[in-house]
Amino acid sequence: MQEYDIVIGLEVHSELKTNAKVFCSCKNEFGQAPNTNCCPVCVGLPGALPVLNKKAVQLVIKAGLTMGCEINDLAVFERKNYFYPDLAKAYQISQLVRPICLGGKIELKEREVRLNRIHLEEDAGKLVHSTAAIGTLIDYNRGGVPLMELVTEPDITSADEAVEFLTKLRQRLIFAGVAECKMEQGGMRCDVNISVKKKGSKELGQRTEMKNLNSFKSVYRAINYEAKRQIEVLENGGTIVQETRKWDDNHGKSVSMRKKETSSDYRYFPDPDMLAVEISREDVENLRNELPLMPEELKAKYMGEYGLSEYESDILTKEKDLSAYFNETIKNINNPKEVSNWILTEVLNRLKDGSEEIKISPKDLASLISLVEKKIVTRTNAKEMLTRIWENGEKIENLVKEFGGNVDESELKTLVENIIKNNPKAVADYKTSDTPEKVFRWFTGQVMKETRGKANAAKAEEFIKEFLSRE
């Protein structure tokens, strides 16, 4: 294995996050009853014509901008002709000669992966294999869902890097609001082109294409399997045949789908039903201005501006929703470090324990942190309050009444006075101890214990100080 280099290029399809499909006004929605989300256009009825959803073009431009692509000023749609029952028109509207985006790159830890292009096309329907008596059925709901296809140069050298690339790509698309990349729903799918060559050799080996990869894990496994298979073939004196292979995740192996000789000639030509799309530089700049910060940029900001550690910043920028939550929380309380602490511990632990979503609003979390800061409630009580908000959806205003700030000031004063009077030994300790703050905290603890944590800690401390000084 060490004697070979692995050369990998990826083709990644992602369903775009538009409201409507790409050439008709049907909803772009997953999970509808079969064939209920269709119209003459997306089931390819005679006479129906495509009308481009400009939003899809905008999203592809945005995707390209996050990866430094060049945006073509004229994009052309072409027909890719082939017969398959899930393809209603017997052609897929795609792009060949003038895609929306050209070039670009994604930086990995150890290398830069160059992109060849990103183009826009339509998704096909879905075959549903039913019982033998019924046979195969077709659900056209997915037909016409906008897809962006990203093609890399063969710059990836291992299964690990492929997964790293996909992770970064997915992050970008989600952060930019381009796609949701829900792999379990087929929202992101990957084809892998892979070849091997003798270490250091300039000449590329014959490649095979692996289709049907629906999770990062299967990408990882398929690459390792295929590289090993190719090396074995070569080591045994054989040659690699250019072919398309299908990954079988259940059995952990790939099988040949079709050889090059029998592959389709797609007979691409410009779709005469569609106008070429002019993309002005002004439009591109406007879209660029709409882009939020990408994970790397956010990370730099968190570390630089907010003084968070790299570890914290990494976690907070991994998922768009989490970083958005963090950003929103610090709008309400200007203490990024403390907010980060709370999110990394209290919030994430609860998510790990099975919560599907964050069940406290950024505003409430900010209030909780602020209550602790102002010592209106103790940290322990604040955590208890968080639990009750998370689990029962209780109102923070009501919880504050229960947990803090509602012990009457004169009552508190009397309580402190009594505690000090009843604990002469502690008072003496306080005066002689090397660490008087420890003893001071003990007094505070006593107050909290007596009030079951409801006392305003700041006030309590003020009174303790006052009475101790009188002793």
Binding site: P40, V43, G44, L45, P46, G47, A48, L49, P50, V51, L52, R79, N81, F83, P85, A88, K89, A90, Y91, T136, I138, D265, R267, Y268, F269, P272, D273, M274, L275
Partner: protein, 480 residues
Amino acid sequence: MKIDELSLIDLAKAISEQKITSYDATKFYIEKCEERKDLNAILEIFDDALDKAKEMDEKIKNGFKGKLAGVPVVIKDNILYKGKKASCGSRFLENYVAQYNSTVVQKMLDAGAVIFARANMDEFAMGSSTETSYYGITKNALDPTRVPGGSSGGSASAVGAGLTPVALGTDTGGSIRQPSSYNGVVGIKPTYGRVSRYGVIAFASSIEQVGPITKNVKDNAYMLEVLVGGSEHDETSLKTDVPSYLSQIKGSVKGLRIGVLKEIEEAVAGFEVEKSYRDTLKMLKENGATLVDVSIKDFKLTLPCYYIIAPAEATSNLGRFDGVKYSRRSPDAKDVDEIYFKSRSEGFGKEVKRRIMLGNFVLSSGYFDAYYNKAKKLQQKLINESKEAFKKCDCFVLPTTAGVAFKLGAKSGDPVAMYKEDLFTIMANILGTPAISVPFGKGENGLPLGIQIVADRLNEGVVYNVADFIESKGGDYARV
């Protein structure tokens, strides 16, 4: 008032003024269709036509106004009318029922039309004689031993024989104009994009248009006004304002510059139509028009250009007829490959198969640049040449066909001879310009000949004005 003596415009007026009911007019034309079943121009008379006519009469009584209020109309078999069959002259779509209205049908319905029948056509509009229809050949309205032309042969024969005041056709390479010429009627192919193609079963998307076939030029202009306008369902439909065409018919050609194409002068020599063509030019000159010599150097290449672009688009457009969804599935198909192979083998006729193969060839890898790309470049060159020519003149005048309608079966064994039928008409499709055919003069057995007027894009007004003038000087022959 005799219904069949009324022009479309007069009939529309009489119905809207309640001098004639839509019911009577529709019934009259339905009976005409029944009488002339021998022509096989009409494939189906819609069974709800008289009910619709009655409804329209009620609406008109209640104040409905519309350019076609209560007017009976025939559509070609490739135009979708919701709930009605649209078989495109093909076995493949034998029982296909339209699921939605085409834009042109919707516009006509909005204008109050009673669409009462669908007309025969060459299968998938591929042909110039209406002999390739799965539903039998259509005969010429004026001589049943001759072809009506095609592919809109059913529509033109129906108008020629007085079975309807107006019919819609589609024109991809001359399919409205050539049959109009053969049946002594008027047919226009509008500017590409002027009429929406939404809901019209596609043959060659980048060059085809829907247009009206009528008994005279003014009727034609009146009808086109109903059909034009951008559609939100069709990117290629033009969103520019729709002018009045009738108001541009001035009854004079004084001062107009008529382009005489050098290449036509050469091509027309010895053809039956030559005299009509020269008489037209002479007549226009005598009436104050100026004849200007112009040239489209590559005119002769329009035909090969067309026979690359059209089959290429057709092969892709017809892919959806695969037996999987709505089209006829071979009863013998056992698996998905057989559904494709057997359904398409049985469902398509010979001419359609020929063009599918031709289209696949010119698009296939290794040949794409040599054929399709070259044809597209040539098309652009022709457009540029025409723009130069249109700087010097307001329109071209040229024949529609080489001669009168040919005999049934005369060319059906010779595809190239059949393709040459479109020699004079294809140019307007390649250029995307409007072109009309109007009868002028007679040929063999007193059968009509047609003259074409071609103007620059969106200049339908000029086309109609000149055509109307030619018609007015053509004697009564224009009216059958």
